[in-house]
């Protein structure tokens, strides 16, 4: 990100903090993909994901004064989204989307191997909520384990353990799928 762009982002946050609704709407547009994607991959339901993402931004609007910088804003959004998603899954653990929901969760970028990526997303849904959150923050949000530990308020070793076990589980199941196909 260039210095000018960083400055513009800071200005937007300052304007939103000053009560400018248009600036806040611009902040929503800037972060909506990240928040919605996390919610969708956690809940596997488009409507629930939209509702959760909206609630996250409503909470941000009410607590905007607690956000000190653009970097802090990203951290805050990821933390609140993940904690809300995990809470929601605890309350309704069978919140499982249909096959078309899985299709909706597939990345908009043209996948190199659509079948494999669909299968990966389906297997991701089978991981426990905390492990799924760790994997999403690592491979969707590109956070390192230390940042994931801070975001999820989880010990670093637990994060590393979740990553290791989740990757092993995904690999094993993908191999199983491949064996079944051959």
């Amino acid at each position: 990100m260039s210095g000018d762009e960083e400055c513009a982002r800071g200005d937007l946050l300052t304007q939103a903090l000053a009560g400018e609704r248009a600036a806040f709407a611009a902040l929503v547009r800037r972060h909506q993909r990240s928040v919605y994607s996390m919610a969708l991959r956690m809940l596997s339901d488009r409507h629930a994901a939209e509702d959760l993402a909206q609630e996250v931004f409503l909470q941000l609007f009410r607590n905007l004064s607690a956000v000190s910088s653009e970097a802090h804003l990203g951290f805050w959004l990821r933390k609140v989204t993940m904690h809300r998603a995990i809470d929601r899954l605890r309350r309704a653990p069978r919140l499982e989307g249909a096959a078309e929901e899985l299709a909706a969760a597939v990345s908009e970028a043209e996948p190199a191997d659509p079948l494999l990526e669909r299968r990966l997303l389906a297997l991701l849904r089978e991981l426990p909520a905390a492990a799924r959150a760790v994997v999403l923050l690592r491979y969707q949000e590109d956070l390192d384990p230390v940042e994931i530990a801070r975001t999820l308020r989880m010990p670093l070793n637990t994060v590393k353990s979740h990553l290791r076990r989740s990757l092993a589980q995904l690999r094993e199941r993908l191999d199983g799928t491949a064996d079944a196909l051959t």
Partner: protein, 121 residues
Amino acid sequence: MSEGLENNQELERRLRSALGAVDPGEGFAPRVMARIAAGAADTARPARAGAVASWLAFGLAASVVLASLLAHEWQARRLEQGREARRQLIEALRVTDEKLDLAYRAVNTREGGAPPEHSGV
């Protein structure tokens, strides 16, 4: 399918590719802003309702105080009227007594005799 997944790096690359961002659509931000506006209206409404309720409570309390003052005044006036009536009755009885006494004396004087020992008055 697993040919390219022989090591974790390949699996991680696939994961990153599969977990690209998904856009919630054009209308997402306007929907959030509409919910914010609705929330602001909801919080303003209870504030207005609260103001109306406190004015009603104030009016009710003022009415109760005024009513008790009026009741107290009405009762004091009735007591005063009772005392005045009693005073007037006593005065009337005193005047009647005097008149009867005068009449009795006049009757006795006309008959020329001393008043009887037991007049009955």
